[in-house]
């Protein structure tokens, strides 16, 4: 403690020599904090390591080629075949279908929230999006199975209500909050100048949005779409409950009323029946690896576009 009688010539801060304990504690503390923070890195590495480790027995026995190219997924047959192509296509199929529903609505909603309504209305509309994001996925799945599926079967006469259309509609709803909030951030981050310049040239709001604002914010919007895709591709409960889980690639390809099966649903559904030590189990881990790699790639793409969006708005 520096009392009133302290030597006035001393520097205010303590030197390391004078406060060795404090100095060490400070560095040690930093190191400990760093280690704790590094848990996230550790977690990512452990996830990668363990999921890949568990899948190697299968990949060594059956090889990657059949896994990625065969359309036959027959894990419990006497001569098991593990072709994940149908599952990979299924995951991409519902996710892309979901984006077809979600992206137009999402961008329109983002424009609505950022450019059209007053702060007050925005404060009413925003919680709707937040609640949609907060509803747990199992509740969406519940809705898909018990409300939407019977309704679609009655209304459109599909042979089954649990199909690709059902799953992708629900996935669209689940991806929307992500798309809206990221796209809205990107659109509103552009600032007034661009808009005002466009309006002063006599452009209408539609023209300003479509020809000026959205092109200028395209990086952020692409990032939003990619993040939405990530959400859809990684979603498990909804697709498991709503997609019908038939191992097939829809034929004709645009027929959404057919049941399909995704990677996530396969893992969720078959893990319980795949005993430890069997090829089936490590095949499911291999599916997990594919899923993980897909989300890594999407993650990198979204980071790239997000940083580009940041730079773009930073300059303007």
């Amino acid at each position: 403690m520096l009392g009133p009688s302290a030597d006035r010539r001393r520097p205010l801060a303590l030197t390391p020599g004078e406060d060795l304990v404090g100095f060490i504690a400070s560095y040690l503390g930093r190191a400990v904090l760093f280690l704790i923070t590094a848990t996230s890195v550790l977690a990512v590495l452990l996830i990668l390591l363990f999921v890949i480790l568990r899948s190697t027995p299968f990949l060594r026995e059956f090889g990657v080629r059949e896994f990625l190219t065969s359309r036959v997924w027959r894990p419990t047959a006497d001569e098991p075949v593990f072709g994940a192509l149908t599952l990979i296509v299924g995951s991409l199929y519902v996710s892309i279908a979901a984006l077809l529903f979600a992206v137009p609505v999402g961008i329109l909603a983002a424009v609505f929230l950022s450019d059209i309504v007053s702060w007050k209305i925005r404060n009413v509309a925003k919680p709707v999006v937040e609640i949609l994001a907060a509803i747990p996925s199992v509740a969406y799945g519940f809705f898909a199975v018990l409300v939407l599926a019977p309704w679609m079967q009655r209304r459109f006469g599909f042979s089954t209500g649990t199909n690709a259309l059902n799953a992708s509609m629900i996935l669209a709803v689940m991806a929307l909050p992500t798309i809206i909030s990221v796209a809205e951030d990107a659109i509103s981050a552009l600032g007034r100048e661009l808009r005002e310049a466009s309006y002063s040239l006599g452009a209408t709001r539609l023209e300003t949005m479509v020809k000026v604002v959205i092109p200028a914010a395209h990086s952020g919007i692409i990032a939003a779409v990619v993040l939405g895709m990530m959400r859809a591709i990684g979603e498990t409960m909804v697709v498991w409950m709503a997609s019908g889980n038939a191992t097939q690639i829809p034929h004709p390809w645009w027929d959404l009323s057919q049941s399909i099966r995704t990677m996530t649903a396969t893992i969720a559904g078959e893990m319980g029946e795949a005993p430890e030590g069997m090829a089936h189990r490590s095949a499911l881990f291999a599916v997990g690896v594919v899923l993980l790699l897909m989300t890594f790639v999407l993650n990198i793409v979204s980071e790239y576009f997000l940083s580009r969006a940041k730079k773009a708005t930073g300059k303007s």
């Binding site: 404090g22 400070s26 930093r30 904090l33 760093f34 704790i36 923070t37 590094a38 848990t39 996230s40 977690a43 990512v44 452990l46 996830i47 363990f50 999921v51 568990r54 137009p104 999402g106 329109l108 909603a109 424009v111 609505f112 929230l113 059209i116 509309a125 937040e130 609640i131 949609l132 907060a134 509803i135 747990p136 996925s137 199992v138 509740a139 969406y140 519940f142 809705f143 199975v145 018990l146 409300v147 209408t204 709001r205 539609l206 949005m209 990684g234 979603e235 498990t236 409960m237 409950m241 893992i267 969720a268 893990m271 881990f285 997990g288 899923l291 993980l292 989300t295 890594f296 993650n299």
Partner: protein
């Protein structure tokens, strides 16, 4: 382009953006509406006397004296139904009647032997009794009303014989009278159809070993093994549905050959036209109130009760406990980790490659699909770490909590980071200027100021953990099982329970109120948590801005 067209297009665009938000609101209503409407039925409904009986027997929860009185009242109204059915059965159930005739004959013989009569008299009496029995049996198995009348008349001619007075043989005559009475009213050529139809009515009214009935088992019926079939309709809406089934017979008929079958409804009373059972179909709807005594019930114990027969009766108590346990244990790990990480990211780290790797990892972690967390939890915690630490390698609460903690770590870090960043610089600078160390500044100044914001992050992580299903599929959730005794037991949770009841068996479909009640409980829990977080956040925002 024409100005008018441009203006119209502009309006259309504005309208479309508004429509997209309206669409979202509609989706929200469509998703939450049915759940709130049907789920609230698990707690608020018209509870019948059967519900109160069930509560008394299964949960030991009743005003016994009052309930006994009520049951007596209800039984009085039900007795009429029992009598009607018994009376109708007398004329229709030939097997029972034949065996009864045989039984009377046998008993009569026994009675004669005890009564010490002369041997010729004994032989004669036995002979007459046997003739009566044969006549009756012939009448029972006949479909010719003339023959029945003749046989019954012959039997009844013996009624005044002195030797039958005061003996068991008198039952022959009441049997004959009842049968003739019934036979006069029914189409004898269809007696088998009556039997089938009667059986259906009995199942609807009294239930069977697998179907719960409207009134529950009859008082003298033997106890049933399952709780769900031991009671009548416990809820008024269920009672109405069963009443509808009682009054209307449904049949799948082929309207045109080759076309799918269509359901056709016809009044069931028509099946029993002109018989002793016909009045039943007027009596039951009229007196259903007295027989079941419905009363508006607030079954708040839904949130604490265990369930019986896969959620046919009872509530979601263990599921709530399980969800809270997993959530709390998970928070014990994720909160310190998240807050410290956030503190490091804001206070200590400087931009550079290390920082980039950290940020990248957190973002990657946030993007990993939830089912992959499940795989990771199984492979790492359950199968790798637990055996190393000497625990049993099985799915349990601890494994589920750890898995979910890793899953929510990014949520927690981001929220805490934002909270710490929003603390005004002046706070920190003031503290540093007073000579406090950076550590001290953080603990005594920054952290308390950021606390409400951190709490928001805690609540958001809570709601995320409570709602996740996929990661705990293989790490700790079960559909059925005892309440966990420690964190090394697996548990039921609201999220997995919702899944299980949605895709579950026929049984869950029979109790949509419990099905929706489960998922509504989960949603309400999560939305309340989120609402608290939103309110907290806006308050903090205002407070910190005010300075």
């Amino acid at each position: 382009m024409n100005l008018g067209i441009r203006r119209t297009l502009d309006r259309v665009f504005t309208g479309l953006t508004g429509a997209s938000i309206v669409l979202l609101m509609l989706v929200l209503v469509a998703v939450l509406g049915p759940m709130i409407y049907r789920g609230s039925g698990a707690v608020l409904f018209g509870g019948t006397i059967e519900f109160r009986k069930m509560q008394r027997d299964l949960f030991n929860r009743a005003d016994r004296a009052a309930l006994e009185a009520e049951i007596a009242e209800a039984d009085r109204a039900r007795q009429v139904v029992y009598d009607m059915i018994d009376r109708f059965k007398k004329g229709i159930d030939i097997a029972t009647m034949s065996s009864e005739a045989r039984e009377i004959n046998r008993e009569y013989g026994r009675e004669l032997r005890y009564r010490d009569v002369a041997s010729e008299e004994y032989t004669e009496a036995r002979e007459v009794a046997r003739i009566i029995r044969d006549k009756l049996e012939e009448a029972f198995s006949s479909q010719d009303i003339a023959l029945i009348r003749a046989n019954v008349a012959e039997v009844l001619a013996q009624k005044d014989e002195a030797r039958f007075k005061g003996t068991v043989a008198e039952r022959f005559f009441s049997l004959a009278t009842d049968f003739l009475d019934a036979a006069e009213h029914i189409d004898l050529s269809h007696y088998h159809d009556y039997l089938v139809a009667l059986d259906e009515v009995e199942v609807i009214l009294f239930g069977s070993i697998e179907h719960p009935g409207l009134l529950g088992p009859r008082p003298n019926q033997s106890a049933r093994p399952l709780a769900m079939t031991s009671y009548g309709a416990t809820r008024w809406d269920r009672a109405q549905a069963l009443l509808d089934r009682l009054l209307w017979a449904e049949k799948w008929v082929e309207k045109e050959p080759g076309q799918p079958l269509v359901k056709a409804r016809s009044p069931r009373a028509a099946l029993f036209h002109d018989t002793a059972l016909e009045p039943l179909f007027a009596y039951v709807p009229e007196h259903l109130n007295e027989m079941l005594r419905p009363r508006f019930t607030v079954y708040w114990q839904f949130f604490i009760d265990d369930n019986f027969d896969s959620h046919y009766f009872g509530g979601v108590g263990p599921e709530i406990i399980g969800t809270l346990l997993i959530t709390v244990v998970g928070m014990l790990f994720v909160v310190p980790l998240g807050v410290i990480s956030a503190a490091y990211l804001v206070e200590c780290a400087s931009e550079g490659p290390i920082m980039r790797i950290l940020r990248m990892s957190i973002n990657t972690l946030a993007g990993v699909p939830s089912i992959v967390f499940g795989l990771f939890g199984l492979a790492f915690f359950v199968l790798f770490l637990f055996p190393k630490l000497g625990f049993e390698p099985k799915a349990c609460i601890l494994a589920a909590s750890l898995t979910l903690a890793v899953l929510t770590l990014p949520v927690m870090i981001r929220a805490s980071e934002e909270a710490i960043r929003t603390v005004p610089r002046s706070y920190k600078e003031g503290s540093l200027a007073l000579g406090a160390s950076r550590f001290r500044t953080f603990v005594t100044v920054t952290f308390p100021a950021a606390l409400p914001g951190i709490l928001t992050g805690v609540i958001l992580s809570l709601s995320r953990i409570a709602g996740e299903t996929a990661p705990i599929l293989f790490t700790g959730a079960v559909a059925m099982g005892p309440v966990p005794k420690s964190i090394f037991d697996p548990t039921r949770t609201l999220s997995y329970g919702s899944y299980d009841m949605a895709v579950g068996d026929r049984l869950a479909m029979m109790v949509p109120h419990n099905q929706y009640g489960m998922v509504l409980t989960l949603i309400v829990l999560i939305l309340v948590l989120n609402a608290v977080a939103i309110v907290l956040r806006s308050r903090v925002f205002k407070k910190l801005k005010g300075h």
